[in-house]
Symmetry: C2
DNA sequence: TATTTGTTTAATAGCTCTATTAATTGTCTG
DNA sequence: CAGACAATTAATAGAGCTATTAAACAAATA
């Protein structure tokens, strides 16, 4: 039994290495530009081994990302905390959203890339996203309307507000290679930059909806 | 001579058709996912004809986009109009930027896609972008600092302000397939939506930097 | 009509990729 | 040690892609 465990451990190590390496390359280049040959080379094993463990490249990809896509998308919804103060609601949405992205910095690019280049994957993911977004919006909507009626927030649709948050939080990650190059950031410096920028995003989103006599 | 013209016209039609079709597919799927076979099929000609006119797939791509990338990027800079009012400067940057994007709605996705998946193309484009962004930022910077010192605008870096504009203007286009699906937009409806959203972007960017006692 | 020149096609070489198969190696078990 | 079973590899089929080549076609010209 102990021996069997050792065996399994060994194989699980290779299996896990394949998963790790594959995740890295998929995130870096997207599905189409990643070859099982390249994964094998980086792992240091035979290319057939990847098919031994995962049968097809497609299954390997799904094993890695199917769950991740959905949990990533719905994480935004789940994070919505009730608070007496609408400002704090907005802040908490932005911060938890930002937090989730920073844990998966290349995932937004991959999602968008797969969904636009691969029509099959589009259909699979799109429906789940639609539901998720729908429930998030209806969740915000009533509170937002109250604020608008009370004259504390300018007239804005929940969808526009939602898009503002998504845009400001996601764009820096989607354009990360470009930004890193323009600013000569190492990856660590880029991470630090996004941390600092998080407050910037809140100020912009909140300043953008808060009633302001100076405008 | 007139005859020769007829001949040329005929060939130019096919050549032009190839360019048109190729542009569509490249914009839709990116370089890697587009095959010369598919282009030929959509044009209705033999696949070898594409190589007859453009020699390689790479050259065809470059012919279409090398200039476009640069002009697209630098259009933002060129559009900066001097105005007595800083608010109007910001507005004009946002509006002309938004206008340029709406004329090339799929280009931002292609640029990001190519730059992240293709390291060769990255180097070619990245340098030009770096210069362009640099000169834009220094152009805004002095005016922005004056506004901050005068207490009309909160303390913000030119780069953060620039990113706010880019994020809010670009994200909807990058995520277009997703947004269209979530909201059940036809392409026309999507275009109409972006037109309406343009004012939204200004309100958010400006509200996000304008001094506001209510925050 | 024969020739020239530009356009288009069919055929195919050569490459890379995915996936399968059969053979090989390594390890535990009886 | 022999046999069993998992892990790993070598070899390769089969598909799709880019690019080239040679041949066919079309139209103007001499």
């Amino acid at each position: 039994m102990a021996n069997k465990k050792v065996r399994r451990e060994k194989s699980e190590n290779v299996e896990q290495m394949i998963l790790n390496v594959a995740e890295d390359i998929f995130l870096e280049k997207g599905y189409a530009m990643t070859s099982t040959t390249e994964i094998a080379k980086r792992v240091g094993c035979n290319q057939a081994l990847i098919h031994y463990y995962f049968r097809t490249k497609e299954r390997l990809f799904e094993k890695l990302f199917e769950k991740k896509f959905v949990s990533f998308i719905s994480a935004v919804v789940l994070s919505k905390e009730r608070s007496a103060n609408f400002k704090d609601v907005v802040r908490s949405i932005i911060e938890s959203h930002s937090e989730i992205i920073s844990q998966n910095p290349r995932l937004p690019f991959l999602i968008i890339n797969e969904m636009t280049t691969n029509p099959v994957r589009f259909r699979v993911i799109a429906e789940k996203i639609k539901d998720t977004v729908g429930s998030l919006l209806s969740g915000i909507d009533s509170e937002l309307k109250k604020e608008i009626e009370a004259g504390r927030v300018r007239d804005i649709s929940a969808f526009d507000l939602f898009l503002n948050i998504l845009s400001l939080n996601l764009f820096v990650y989607i354009a990360q290679p470009l930004i890193s190059h323009v600013r000569d950031y190492s990856f660590e410096e880029f991470v630090k930059f996004t941390k600092l920028r998080s407050e910037e995003v809140f100020l912009t989103v909140w300043g953008g909806i808060c009633i302001n006599e100076n405008i």
